[in-house]
Symmetry: C2
Subunit: 319 residues, 2 copies
């Protein structure tokens, strides 16, 4: 029996107890059950050292984040996450690292009742590839491409905390203590907005998750919808720390181009405002209405005095 | 727009024309349609340099093999392959390499009418992770764990050619010319037995694909089925080159522990022999009956004179 087989058994094979998994880890492939009337939603995201985590990050955090970024993609479709596969390339077999990685992974998997159904381990530079599968009632997915002129534009939570956390790790801020730690936690353990995404079915026209920076991801949504937008800077939701950073540096890069927020950006028609507000309250998730969809041909970020922001940093580049 | 986005568009986004893809590459996730009465079959396999291909292998071969090994896993379940996702980590953006990789990938994808529905590109050491999705009529998948005592054991094609190809690359054989090239081609462009796997529904009790070496993979099937086997060495299907190697070196490692064959090993009851033979003929795929399932508690490989082979090499280890 190969070591690969042993590793999967020891760290990743668990009785899922899930009725929708007919055959889990341990065969050539897994078999899962799709409910009648549902469509399958499929996404994949890879994490590599340097790009998504650092050499000294805890394995538990890395495990958590690997799944979180994939669940965030499903959330951005309004899908219910169900299953995932894990391909793990590692330079050596470090069992303590694997146990910690699996712990972080399953903390989040259990929270959302998603089952690990397939695994693959390979010797190589550390690389974590997850593919997540979800379901959505036929025709109910929320894509990027359906924004309508005059739609409200919302974003969940606050923007820029993870980017500020990165700056603290790079010793590029004065932040220390609990606040620095809290920002770093936002970087290392982002919260995929799974419940919010699901609740926005029938309420949002278009949605995307904010992983490469608000401006870049809003740009993707606008491009896919063939629309433009006006954004009101005073409405951009920020923690006090990010707000101070923007004021001190007279620079909006941290909240608008920082990346790793994993908040949802969505659009919805004005007549849904009360519904949206009620949803945010019910889910204990702040929804900030930050602008509106236009068809002016140019997307602009406005200061309260009407001046237009010159946004130079366009967000995280994968290369 | 991020470079990642451009790369996916340029090299991997194609109109699939497939009715079962409701939303392809370009959103947070893809949406696909599962036919009523079907179960979803899910697998993932990663390829890294050194383990699965070499630095100087052509990108076209690497693209082809990346998908082939995943389709082989679906074939081993008797599933019909439908969709796949690709996560590609690369140290630099080399457009010529990407074009060649995509060409090899799509040659095989088109052959089996499978659609690429999701992509992710990341900067990092070269790592290719594919997740393949297939469907199977409810309850019809062929797992590893259902072998029955006295079942015939079959293997498709010939064993050891890819392993011999590897030996030629390592200058460990005298083979040259067309035969060396042919063995290397078996290593670089394995043939996933998709049609065979699908045709074996209702005809095979248990099945596995042979990727880590016949002995190791048969061992997985036996272990999952809680059975043992007797194997008749004179029935092991080999090309002339592999046969010569075995005779010259008085060693069965190449066909039995070589790895990278991607043939199917399956078991079926004796009363199906005519059906199985007819299937092999119809699909132009040699099926060799190499042994039978036992419950003796020990698996043995027999020489024609009744002597037992002492098999020391247990197959490819991933670490």
């Amino acid at each position: 029996m190969s070591l690969e087989f042993d590793l999967i058994q020891e760290f990743f094979q668990r009785g899922t107890g899930s009725e929708d998994v007919s055959l889990g880890i341990g065969d050539d492939a897994a078999i899962v059950e799709i409910p009648a009337g549902a469509q399958l939603v499929v996404t994949t995201d890879t994490l590599v050292e340097g790009g998504h985590f650092f050499k000294n990050d805890s394995a538990e955090d890395i495990g958590y984040k690997s799944l979180a970024v994939n669940l965030s993609d499903l959330a951005a479709m309004g899908a219910t996450p169900k299953w995932f596969t894990l391909s793990l390339s590692m330079p050596i077999v470090n069992k303590a690292w694997l146990a910690s990685f699996a712990k972080g992974l399953f903390i989040l998997a259990d929270k959302h009742a998603v089952s690990l159904v397939g695994g693959d381990t390979t010797k190589g530079p550390l690389n974590i590839c997850i593919q997540a599968l979800g379901i959505v009632s036929a025709g109910q997915a929320i894509t990027r491409s359906n924004a309508v002129t005059d739609d409200d534009i919302y974003v969940t939570g606050t923007l820029g905390d993870a980017a500020l956390g990165l700056l603290t790790l790079q010793n590029r801020t004065d932040l220390v203590g609990d606040i620095a730690c809290a920002c770093q936690a936002r970087l290392r353990r982002p919260t995929p907005r799974v419940d919010v995404g699901m609740a926005l079915q029938n309420n949002a026209h278009a949605m995307i998750d904010c992983s490469d920076g608000f401006a870049a991801d809003l740009g993707h949504l606008l491009s896919a919808s063939n629309k433009t937008a006006e954004i009101w800077l005073e409405k951009i939701p920020m923690s006090n720390s990010v707000s101070s950073w923007v004021a001190t540096h007279n620079c909006w890069d941290t909240p608008l181009a920082g990346g790793d927020d994993y908040e949802l950006i969505f659009t919805s028609p004005a007549e849904k405002r009360e519904t949206i507000e009620a949803l945010g309250l019910a889910l204990s998730c702040p929804f900030s209405r930050v602008g509106k969809i236009t068809n002016s041909g140019v997307t602009q970020y406005y200061h309260p005095d009407g001046q237009v922001l010159n946004l130079t940093n366009k967000g995280y580049s994968h290369f």
